[in-house]
Symmetry: C2
Subunit: 338 residues, 2 copies
DNA sequence: ATGTGAATTGCAAGCGCTTACATCTTTTAC
DNA sequence: GTAAAAGATGTAAGCGCTTGCAATTCACAT
């Protein structure tokens, strides 16, 4: 015998409190428009019935969901964790909820998730980086969905964004590495296709390399997905070279920590035998041994500002802007002079 | 001049295709009930208008969202990543979407998130562990929301669940540690209040300790939230003791990796000076140095089974079951005999 | 008392979709 | 050729909420 559970609705509350549904709705959304007496009467009914508003109905009637969606390339590691955390916190302060999904670095999947989130009624979107099909931007524009891009900054593209210049940032680090005397550099990059951040970082190293008068052909590069294991494998491969590199620069801290881990397996001492650098300065960077020299990205600040701009756009309080944040080099034990 | 964008609806599609909305709806949901001719006509209209169904409207009309919600204690580290990944993959195969939120280990917040997800129309819920206010279970039952608990297993509680016996599992490891000759054990546990998994693991160590005839008072325990930093701090404190422990058993791999990291700062060699153990066998466990001896949890299997049971419950194809999975001890370099 | 504007409340029309039921077509069997 | 069954489509009633507008009530000055 199965009694189908009755879930209380606005109507039930209205009846219980002896008012109209409109009044109950106001009690829930615009208290100031309601007399204190009715308010308490209604709230009592809400309590005693255990009423929870139906989100879907609300979103449909109000034509806004107070929900914003974020699609990040991966949740497998902590690359986006801190920034997203700050993003969410700020959103909550402003009365918005966050829905997150992951695209696994696949543009197709990202496009699908975007549709999914829009279909769910997201009032706005946070996307990572610039590079995606123009059709996606069209879709978003046609639907009038405010969107902010993060983790990158390309002011001339005309999109709202909050990020940093991946290329210039990595160049900063590469310049430093070369100044420290390194002349045999090898690179473990993320997959650059479809990933402007990875491409920018790689380009930054190449910029520096060429600016110092070296030959691009003499700069070994392996591209591999951002996973510890891959960093390890790539490192092993790079260390096979006849002329072993004196430093391995990695596209992010995850790859770098894989590299360090593999170095130990190979009985190589980091940094004595070979230096290693990362990018992002995620928590891991401090905790691997030796601690990683890396590029510090102001994740929390980025998340916070992204949330503010997005809400600004949604509530039409502000215009599209592109905020470029400063990064800094964090020198730790994994990199030494030569 | 702002042209409010017109978002195509079912009506628009129906008009464009010259059929009723009912037919369009059928084309989208039950193709087999529609003639091939109309189907293609409708699909064309869908394409050309760039129509995407409105999720909220659909959920409201159909009284089901094909969405299931999961609330995990934290996204900050990878503890739940692999299991959740598998959970989601399996769900997708079955035609369901996943909404995840994090409770930050706060029961209050969890209760709120549960309401939030239910209000959003979740057809079912995945929760971690057993320990929560009875009112929460009541709420779920009253609303008829199928729920599966994971990461723990307490068959006599009468809840659907997929997990393992945290207490027995940790006891297995503790037995091993003691058999290997350790007599001075110290424990870094997660916060046990409100966390049956953490409590179970600690109890497992205590069980073993007492079963071997030792005094509970002689077993130093520090409880601290599951974060690397905290593991490090706790380790430092434990190593201050006059009688230094020969092994530090940690409530999970995150705490353990913090401990190892701190050991290095203190110029202590793991495992020569002190052994360290973890729990969970997350990816990190292989990559810290020395690699962690830990309890391997079949995360992916757990996630997969949880998804299957939950969908089974939702579609009334199966009954509540509690599945208990086997764990195993993974011996790595961080633990040696004495 | 009485009128006035402001503060409250109720009415009812949707929001975009699904689905039971009714209606109309086509197929199939005899 | 006809009747019955099967298949395809349409009609319309909601799902639970918000909100513009109209109706009512109230406080206060006159």
């Amino acid at each position: 015998m199965h009694v189908s559970p009755h879930i209380p609705t606005l109507d039930d509350v209205a009846n219980a409190a002896g008012v109209s549904t409109a009044t109950v709705s106001r009690c829930l959304n615009e208290k100031q428009k309601v007399s204190p007496k009715t308010l308490s009467k209604v709230m009592e009914a809400v309590e005693s019935l255990g009423y929870t508003p139906n989100f879907n109905a609300r979103a449909m009637a109000a034509k806004q969901s107070h929900t914003i969606g974020a699609i990040i390339p991966t949740m497998e590691n902590a690359i986006f964790a801190r920034g997203l955390q700050a993003f969410q916190e700020t959103l909550l302060e402003q009365g918005y909820n966050l829905l997150v999904s992951s695209s696994a670095y696949q543009p197709k999947l990202e496009a699908q998730q975007i549709r999914e989130l829009v279909a769910r009624g997201a009032d706005g979107l946070l996307l990572i980086g610039y590079e995606r099909d123009e059709a996606v931007y069209d879709y978003l524009a046609r639907r009038g969905i405010p969107t902010v891009l993060a983790w990158a900054s390309m002011p001339d593209k005309g999109h709202a964004s909050v990020g940093f210049d991946n290329r210039a940032s990595m160049r900063l680090l590469a310049d430093r590495v070369i100044e420290m005397g390194h002349r045999r550099i090898a690179v473990i990059s993320g997959i650059t296709e479809g990933n402007d951040r990875a491409a920018g970082r790689l380009a930054g190293i190449q910029d520096s390399w060429q600016a110092h008068g070296f030959d691009l052909a003499a700069l070994p590069v392996i591209e591999t997905p951002y996973e510890t294991e891959n960093g390890a494998a790539a490192f092993a491969e790079l260390m096979q070279a006849r002329e072993k590199p004196t430093v391995v620069m990695c596209g992010n801290d995850v790859l770098a920590s894989g590299a360090i881990s593999k170095a130990r397996d190979l009985d190589l001492d980091v940094p004595r035998d070979v230096s290693v650098t990362g990018f992002d300065d995620i928590e891991l960077a401090k905790h691997v041994f030796p601690a990683l020299t890396t590029v510090h990205v102001p994740h929390r600040q980025m998340g916070r500002i992204a949330a503010q701009s997005l809400v600004g756009l949604i509530e039409k309080r502000s215009e599209k802007v592109t905020r470029q944040l400063d990064v800094s080099i964090v020198m730790r034990a994994s990199l030494i002079s030569i």
